[in-house]
């Protein structure tokens, strides 16, 4: 048995990749794909040539009819650069189509990879082999979209020729391909992660999930004018445009990426952001790929704390305060964050989401929680054990988030002067958010102990219903008086806590809400404890 690690084994000779190559690239199919790709390239080339001919004809007609210098210049330009412009147009279309095909196909096929194998009942055999999770991950990332990789490979020589003839440097054309490959790996990781969360393959769900993920990734493009413009780099489109070289006056340069207050190229920001998120996705996949479905837990407790810290760190690293001078745009920009308290409000609100996601990622499977409880009663297990309840770790994540907030606000003190009461009110506000998030996460943990099918999904829907109902009740209470509406909101939701971040005053309703929800947490803990103590029955297996 040879078990030595090598890059060849991990990539080209990876058994999973070889399996996909064999299955999907049989000679007849490969030749057909190559012929179709070449045919499409030829059609596209003709279309581009036709477009340029049309441009030329228009310029000639304009020059003849109007005989102005502008038309003469345009005609001269079109005639002089006819070939180059045709090739450039051809290149742009080719690379655009390849980019869309490669990224979408990768995401879609990876989004069905693991769930598809579970569905076909071939997954268990793969899990019992000696392939390490990282080998399965690499094999699937390379193998699932192998057909589209092959199609891109077929079109690559033509793309290179078109790019070079269109006046683009060899290095740029190569960089575009490398960037496309990196983007497809990033999206493939996202798709595979989605796939591990689905118990069985439903093409519809896979497609919707893939489309949503694709839409979110591309939609991030619109965030470049926000308070955290760097987040827009989650959209690889920005890096793509940056490599191809956008014109100096383009929107890309009007909204530059900011890292620690310094403007950096979008390409670098894309690499940093997509690279780090790919790292987290890869970690979650490697951790869970060979686990049985009910045993899947995205992150360990410490990893979840690390992930919460990383996301908090991003807030302060990508922050662009209002009034900051952009060296790229050579102008002072307005923005969301005009003072430290607005940053604090935003950070607390974001932590509501971050802590909830971390809670979701660390929910303990029913069986593990039961064992933990038994050991806890005999003193063998600690409250902070990896298989225990998630709430102590939410508290740790909250403390880390607050520590980073202090650090972040102090670091930005030169641009956004910090006042001490901002930190105090932010602490109280974060406490309110933490209590509500803890309640919601513990509710989901309780759902996992019931016989609900897809308990987390259903529990999440119940929470959505709860917040919708709270909004409706507050709306109805608002008919009698605004105060009643505010009181309802303060008791049932954390939103009223955000009213007081500019002053160190919290209304009694917010405090009452905090006490009420703490009581609810206590009730949920008792219910969970009772559920874990139910007597076991020996008998038929599930």
């Amino acid at each position: 048995m040879a078990a030595n690690f090598s890059w060849a084994n991990l990539l080209w000779a990876n058994p999973e990749f070889v399996r996909h190559r064999r299955a999907e690239l049989r000679p007849v199919r490969a030749i057909t794909v190559a012929v179709v790709v070449l045919f499409l390239c030829a059609l596209l080339g003709l279309a581009c040539w036709s477009y340029q001919q049309n441009e030329l004809a228009t310029a000639q007609r304009g020059a003849e009819e109007y005989a102005t210098q502008a038309w003469q210049n345009r005609l001269a330009d079109v005639q002089e650069h006819f070939a180059q412009k045709t090739w450039l147009l051809f290149y742009r279309w080719l690379i655009g189509i390849q980019g869309i095909a490669l990224t979408f196909w990768t995401l879609f096929s990876c989004a069905q990879s693991v769930s598809g194998e579970r569905d076909r009942k071939t997954w268990d055999f793969q899990r019992t082999t000696r392939l390490a999770p990282v080998e399965i991950l690499t094999g699937k990332l390379l193998g699932e979209p192998v057909l589209v990789y092959f199609a891109v490979l077929c079109a690559a020589p033509i793309t290179f020729i078109a790019g070079l003839a269109g006046g683009i440097s060899f290095a740029t054309v190569t960089s575009v391909f490398v960037f496309l490959a990196a983007t497809s790996v990033f999206l493939g990781l996202g798709g595979m992660w989605l796939s591990t969360l689905l118990e069985s393959r439903t093409r519809g769900v896979g497609l919707i999930g893939a489309l949503a993920l694709y839409g979110l990734t591309l939609g991030a493009y619109g965030m470049r004018d926000g308070g955290l413009p760097g987040l827009a780099a989650m959209s690889p489109l920005l890096g793509f445009i940056d490599i191809l070289g956008a014109s100096p006056g383009s929107a890309l340069y009007r909204f530059p990426a900011v890292l620690f207050g310094h403007t950096i190229p979008w390409l670098l920001m894309c690499v940093l952001l997509c690279g780090s998120f790919s790292g987290w996705l890869a970690l979650m996949l490697v951790r869970n790929l060979k686990r049985d479905y009910p045993e899947i837990r995205p992150l360990s407790r410490w990893q979840a704390v690390g992930c919460a810290a990383f996301l908090n760190f991003l807030i302060y690293a990508l922050l662009r305060p209002a009034g900051m001078h952009d060296t790229f745009a050579r102008q002072v920009r307005q923005g969301w964050f005009s003072d430290a308290s607005s940053v604090a409000i935003f950070a607390v609100a974001m932590n509501g989401l971050i802590l909830f996601l971390m809670g979701l990622a660390t929910l303990t499977p029913q069986e593990r929680l039961k064992v933990w409880r038994r050991k806890r009663t005999t003193g063998e297990s600690k409250m902070f054990a990896d298989d225990g309840l998630p709430w102590p770790w939410l508290v740790i994540s909250g403390v880390v988030a607050y520590a980073l907030m202090v650090w972040g606000l102090l670091a930005w003190d030169h641009a956004l002067p910090l006042q001490m009461h901002t930190l105090q009110t932010a602490a109280l506000c974060l406490l309110v958010v933490l209590v509500f998030v803890t309640r919601d996460v513990l509710f989901l943990q309780w759902c996992m102990l019931t016989r609900l099918r897809q308990p987390v999904v259903k529990g999440f829907m119940f929470l959505c219903l709860y917040y919708a109902a709270a909004a409706v009740i507050a709306g109805l209470a608002g008919v009698s008086s605004t105060d009643a509406s505010y009181t309802t909101l303060a008791l049932l939701t954390p939103v009223r806590a955000f009213d007081s971040t500019r002053e160190l005053t919290f209304s009694g309703n917010v405090i009452a809400g905090l006490v009420l929800q703490s009581g609810v947490i206590g009730v949920i803990l008792v219910v969970i404890s009772n559920r874990l103590q139910r007597p076991m029955q020996s008998g038929a297996a599930a």
């Binding site: 000779a13 399996r19 055999f125 082999t129 686990r291 069986e367 064992v371 016989r451 020996s538």
Partner: protein
């Protein structure tokens, strides 16, 4: 070679497997029998590392399956009752994939594929697409996959389901030859005749617990305190035989018809000789007389109806 130590698996508030401890030495074929839902599949899945036990440990060749899964997998060949194959591969490609996935030496793989294909009689289908194989052939290919890396331990969950009688016989021969080569086999089935005369030892599972285990002789002997004796005779001696047997206090459940019958005897096997001698001296022309060995099937039926629990 296979050691299951206090294995327990819980689902919701049901204990699927409860305190299962089992040791299967090298070269043995251990049959796990029990009705549907007894916990056989769960036990085998825990032993193969597919399922994490709630409590306890599974050791394969001394390696803890949960702690070092990839290391343990090199020793294990696993086959489940319901499985599928990669339909878009050829037979040899499928085996080649798993040979590489089990990290066999590159030089060894082509020869081993040929060898395994011959073992499961799929030579003529070597280059055929899997989607074109019959169900029995697919089952045989599944077995070939499980043995491709020469595992020292085979974990087989109802491996004969879907096989025709001839293929079952071939499977039996194949497993016996693997045992002769030193492999240790843990096999589950609820078709008991499949296991009888083939397993060196058996374990009977009922409601998640191992209620009996040991060699077939030990298990059947432990389950029964009386011997069942069958006799046949020539001539018209029914009344004499009945009288003689009923006069012996150790005899019960006498059930005689013309020319043959059975009875239960509570003494030791050697105490049967005087009973036979008594019949012969009473001029009964006995043509056969002997203990009826309890089959695994009979024992299992008794256990299922809780006769011996």
């Amino acid at each position: 070679m296979i050691e299951l130590v206090h294995l327990r698996k819980e689902y919701d508030n049901v204990i699927a497997v409860d305190d299962l401890s089992l040791t299967v030495p090298q070269g043995e074929i251990f049959g796990l029998i029990g009705p549907n839902g007894a916990g056989k599949t769960t036990s085998i899945r825990m032993a193969s590392g597919l399922l994490a036990p709630t409590l306890g440990r599974a050791l394969i060749a001394g390696v803890d399956v949960a702690a070092e899964p990839e290391r343990a997998q090199q020793y294990v060949g696993y086959l489940s009752d319901f499985f599928a194959l990669y339909e878009d591969l050829k037979v040899w490609e499928y085996l080649d994939y798993f040979a590489h996935a089990y990290k066999m030496a590159e030089s060894e793989i082509p020869g081993r594929i040929t060898e395994v294909i011959a073992q499961v009689n799929l030579e003529v289908k070597r280059d055929a697409m899997i989607r074109g194989l019959s169900r029995g052939m697919k089952q045989r290919l599944g077995i070939a996959r499980a043995i491709i890396h020469r595992p020292q331990v085979m974990l087989l969950d109802e491996p004969a389901s879907g096989l025709d009688p001839k293929a079952r016989l071939e499977l039996r021969h194949l497993l016996l030859s693997l045992r002769d080569q030193g492999a240790t086999i843990l096999i589950s089935s609820h078709i008991l005749t499949e296991l009888e005369g083939f397993c060196t030892s058996i374990g009977i599972m009922e409601r998640g617990r191992l209620v009996r285990s040991g060699s077939i002789e030990e298990v059947t002997a432990a389950a029964s305190s009386t011997l069942q004796v069958r006799l046949s005779w020539a001539g018209d001696s029914l009344a004499t035989i009945e009288e003689k047997l009923k006069s012996d206090t150790r005899v019960s459940d006498v059930n005689l018809t013309a020319g043959e019958g059975t009875f239960r005897f509570s003494g030791a096997e050697e105490d049967l000789a005087p009973v036979l001698a008594g019949l012969v001296t009473a001029d009964v022309r006995v043509t056969s007389f002997g203990e009826v060995k309890q089959t695994v099937e009979e024992l299992y039926m008794k256990l299922s109806t809780h006769e011996v629990m």
